[in-house]
Subunit: 218 residues, 2 copies
C-alpha cells in the first residue's frame, strides 16, 4: 500500500466508519465479496463515490466481483489505525461524556477509555459503564503515568481551555473536542472539533429542500 503524504478529504474519512460497519455486517452474513454497488445502496450514495472513498485506504475492487470482504475491512482499519488498542481519557463525565463512554462501537474501533475525570465529588470514585471516574485534580499525573495520548473533551465551555492546557502538559497528542471552544494548542497536538449542531444543520436543509420540491411539483 502506497503511503500518501496528503491528508485525504474529510468527508471520505468521516464515511469510513460507516463502510466498516456495513462491510463487517455483510461479512457476518456470509458474503465473501462485497461490491461497491451494494455498499452504495446501503449508504444511499453513488457507487463512484464509494470507490473513490475506499481508494484512500489503498484497496481496489475487481469489476463485477467487488472487494474481498476481509481484506476490505482490514484496509479500512489499517488506514484508520484501528487495529491496535488506543488508550484514551475522558475529561468531563456529564451526560455526553457518559454517552460516549457507553458507546459500544468505540470498543470495536480499538478506542479504550482508561479513566474519566470530573470535578463533581458525587461522581468521583464511581464507575460509568465500567470506567472509573477520578478527580480532575489527578488528571495531569494520571495521563502522564499511563502514557495516554488521546483525550475526549466533554467539559463545560468555561473549563475547556484550562483542561486542555493540563492535557497538553501531560503529553496528550490528540484531543477530540466536543465543546464549542476553539482550543489553543501547540503545533504537535491535533484537535478534532465536533459540533453536534452540524447534523441538525444537514437535517434542516434536507427538510427545507424536500418541502420546496414537493410544493413545486405536486
Amino acid at each position: 500500500m502506497e503511503i500518501r503524504r496528503k491528508i485525504p478529504s474529510a468527508p471520505s474519512v468521516r464515511r469510513l466508519p460507516s463502510y466498516l460497519t456495513i462491510v463487517k455486517q455483510l461479512q457476518h452474513e456470509g458474503n465473501e465479496h462485497i461490491s461497491g454497488a451494494l455498499i452504495a445502496r446501503e449508504m444511499g450514495l453513488e457507487p463512484i463515490q464509494i470507490r473513490k472513498d475506499l481508494a484512500i485506504t489503498g484497496i481496489t475492487g475487481k469489476p463485477r466481483i467487488g472487494y474481498p470482504a476481509g481484506a476490505l475491512a482490514d484496509a479500512i482499519e489499517r488506514f484508520l489505525g484501528w487495529y491496535d488498542v488506543q488508550d484514551a481519557v475522558l475529561a468531563g463525565a456529564g451526560n455526553l461524556g457518559s454517552a460516549l463512554m457507553g458507546y459500544r462501537e468505540f470498543q470495536s474501533h480499538c478506542l479504550n477509555f482508561v479513566a474519566a475525570f470530573d470535578t463533581d465529588s458525587r461522581k468521583i470514585g464511581a464507575g460509568i459503564h465500567g470506567i472509573h471516574v477520578l478527580s480532575m485534580e489527578t488528571l495531569e499525573t494520571e495521563v502522564r503515568r499511563r502514557g495516554v495520548k488521546i483525550a475526549v473533551l466533554t467539559v463545560p465551555a468555561e473549563a475547556a481551555q484550562a483542561v486542555t492546557d493540563i492535557l497538553v502538559r501531560a503529553g496528550i497528542e490528540g484531543i477530540w473536542n466536543f465543546t464549542n471552544v476553539k482550543l489553543k494548542v501547540p503545533g504537535n497536538v491535533v484537535v478534532q472539533r465536533e459540533d453536534l449542531s452540524s447534523g441538525y444543520a444537514m437535517l434542516s436543509v434536507m427538510m427545507k429542500t424536500r418541502n420546496r420540491t414537493e410544493k413545486e411539483s405536486p
Copy 2:
C-alpha cells in the same frame, strides 16, 4: 436571495453552525463587520473556503470590510430555517438522548424538544433537563396530537426500525438518526444519519499523518 434548487455541499452545510457561533460571539464583542479572514483564523480553514461556504446562504462580503455581522448571522439562520421554533420529540432517553436534550446550543438554533419517549418505567413521568419523559406506547398519539415533524432517534439499534415505523405513521418528516441502522422510510421522510465514530476517524487520521510527518522531518 436567490432560491437554489440543488442541495449544497454537505461539508459546507455542516460548517455553518460553527460559523454562526463565531459570528455571534464576535458580534457580541462589538464587531460590526466580520471578515472572512477572521472567521478563517477561528476555524483553521482557508479564507476562500469560508467565502465559498457562506455564499450558499446568499450573502457576499465586501473586500477589506467583510460581512455586516447582523446580516451574516441572519443569512445563516435563514438558510438553515433556524428563525422559527421547530418542535421535536426524542425517542430513547438514555445517556446520549439526555445529553442531546441538555445541549444548550440547540435552543439557540430554535430546536425545541416538546417531549421524550422511553420504555423504562423508572424514567417515565420524570423530567430530563426540564423535558417530560413519556411512555413509548404514547409516541404515535403524542406526535400526531402535537403535530411534531422532527424526531431525534437515540433508541438501541434493535428498536430503531420499529420506532421509525411509528414515527412515520404519526407524521414525522425528518429523523435525526443516531443509531447505526439504515432506516427504511418512505420518500417523503428525510433521514440524517449521525455516526459518532466519524469524528474519531478524523482524529485518528490526523494523528497518524502528524506522526509520520514528524518522523520524516525531525
